[in-house]
Symmetry: C2
Subunit: 382 residues, 2 copies
């Protein structure tokens, strides 16, 4: 007997103590990419800078006009829709900050071996599409429905299971009005780029990225709980292999700094000049809205409130900017921001570990070196 | 005395035997990104999929209309140009395949510690701009000029040297007609995205990426050889630390496969079904044009010619597609393509090592698992 599908997959594992990033993690890191954090200066992330994570390959769709979306399962009127059909429904535009559920994974100890994000797996876009609830109304979803299952065109093997990427939402979330789930056809006013789901994707404001199924081909209403791989095996908060775990859902509160000053190429350490520095960044939450951002410039000894952009309907599901003044004096400084949400949740200083490395929102420190001379930089290292 | 600029930089080094990718290499890999190789199917790389390497931060340029480009040094009429001024010169569009000089670095043994590319640091775009030779004519470059120096707005520290990113070209290259160097303002018909040099960059068809200075602010004609960091310290082909080395210049011939079949999420191993498979990919060279592409499906025992897209003026500096038929039979297969250029250069099977990991064009093998069953994939790994 020849090779089997399972032969290309290894079980999930944790990195050993001191184990460097492996060839498999690197292969993911070179394909997928984060938001360079200096680009948090833009309210809406410019094309190509928004984070991207693709489980398998990016499907090749040279003829978007031929794409079909089906709505079927426990419905009274199954739908088979072209892009033109979708555009005949009312269109809604929502500004959404998307974050990968695995953001921060590579900073955990022990490190779950998977896509090795630091904290840059985030981005914000204006997504336009038809509210999913209108499609489900049109199709007549059955009152006994439990889950709505979304299937993408991306196909591959994961932990020995060959699959199309597939996730579900409870019917109440799929038909909810706040957040309103979209079947999106444009990103920042342009057709979706291939890596963001061309020509169609789901947008679930406030939820981690795994829910926003890209290259969407079918919506299936089900009267049973969906037990597919990405729902019951992946994307669970587990402490042990046998733990069934809780599902990963909404984005935990997080604030990040635009790294101040300028970097060293290799170490990425930051340099600033002595004097006044504006510290700025972004904060977001898919749970209760961000209520405050606090900044520490002394390694966590003290935390001071930053000026936070007011909440508006426009930024309900998107990040908000914050800023504060800092007087840099010579020495090594550890800076960080942390978000506090309206339910009083504060970003933790320590890690909240789980085997998948999901939904971790520990405070991220930025080491800044404030040099007391400006002239020595022009000379090569002696 | 407080910290100095040099304190944030460590000397260049090689990874030890079995040393995994480090935190510094990972920080670069999460910011910069390659072309997912399945996207080689597009003649012109869609926005956001083209490889990106930024030494420091991406400069923030909210008001591109205020940008100025100066042309000075050994010229009779120094220029100080707005974007509108640049657009009053004749505009040329050239399709160019850009590749990072460090592409393939992470596959070398020992591995130079830097941006850890596998082989995906490549992309193709249509760049539009004014030929540099017209600007140098307008300014009246002195006949005794040697180098033309290009300064970008990206600022940082590298190996202890604080610097704006700066590179030079010999006057004959800067004023040459084939390739014709461009000061580009558009990429694929749109303004340059921030990560590709908004609002201005240099395009030097056929040269590795380090020559294509982004966020271009000044062009300085010099009667001496430029000895800046990126010219005489970085981007040299050295065997030892003390070796002055040869400069990195034009892109060595390379062919790559669009990975066939579908991948495993974590291992990135490829699966195909038994039966006919079209193998396809791209080939390019900044030296003599690609004359042939050869494919091996048996780990290098034999090489067969592929069908290569004919050379045209349009693709002189861009990749060309190639394809060939393959009958997949059950088992593990090692596939590769290699380019042969018009001067008879063949991509090597073994590495051509140097301390920077530059200009390496060793043949890249793709392991493909052809499973003799299709049904087992639907079951979880037992």
């Amino acid at each position: 007997m020849g090779p089997r599908t399972a032969d290309v997959s290894a079980p999930a594992r944790l990195a050993g103590p001191e184990e460097g990033i492996g060839a498999d993690e690197l292969a993911l890191a070179t394909r997928n990419h984060g938001l360079p954090l200096e680009a948090m200066r833009y309210d809406v992330t410019p094309p190509g800078l928004h984070y991207v994570l693709t489980h398998y390959d990016i499907p090749y769709v040279p003829q978007a006009g031929a794409w079909r979306l089906t709505v079927d399962g426990r419905v009274s009127r199954p739908l088979d829709l072209s892009l033109a059909d979708l555009l005949s429904f009312p269109q809604v535009t929502t500004r959404v900050t998307l974050e990968c559920a695995g953001n921060g994974r590579a900073l955990l100890t022990p490190r779950p071996v998977s896509q090795p994000w630091l904290v840059e797996a985030v981005g914000t876009a204006d997504w336009t599409g038809v509210p999913l609830r209108l499609l489900l109304e049109e199709a007549g979803a059955a009152p006994d429905a439990v889950d709505v299952v979304f299937t993408g065109a991306d196909h591959g093997v994961e932990r020995g299971v060959e699959q199309d990427y597939r996730r579900a939402l409870p019917l109440a979330v799929a038909t909810g009005g706040d957040p309103e789930v979209l079947v999106a056809t444009t990103m920042n006013g342009a057709p979706l780029p291939p890596q963001h789901g061309r020509p169609l994707r789901l947008i679930v404001p406030g939820w981690y990225g795994m829910a926003h199924v890209k290259w969407l081909r079918s919506v299936t209403v089900s009267d049973t709980s969906f037990d597919g791989f990405q729902q019951t095996v992946a994307y669970r908060l587990r402490q042990t292999v046998d733990d069934p775990g809780e599902p990963v859902t909404r984005i935990a509160p997080r604030a990040l700094l635009v790294p101040p000053g300028f970097p060293d190429f290799m170490s990425r350490a930051r340099m600033v000049r002595p004097g006044p520095v504006t510290l700025e960044g972004r904060a977001w939450s898919g749970q209760a809205p961000v209520a405050a951002v606090q900044v520490s410039t002394d390694g966590g000894v003290s935390w001071e409130p930053a000026d936070l952009e007011p909440a508006t309907p426009r930024n309900r599901w998107a990040w908000r900017s914050w800023r504060t003044a800092w007087l840099a004096t010579p020495g090594d400084r550890d800076l960080a921001a942390r978000a506090v949400d309206a339910d009083g949740r504060v970003q933790p200083l320590g890690q909240r570990w789980n085997r998948g490395g999901f939904a971790n929102n520990a405070v991220r420190w930025v080491r800044v070196v404030c040099a007391d001379t400006v002239a020595d930089g022009a000379r090569p290292r002696s």
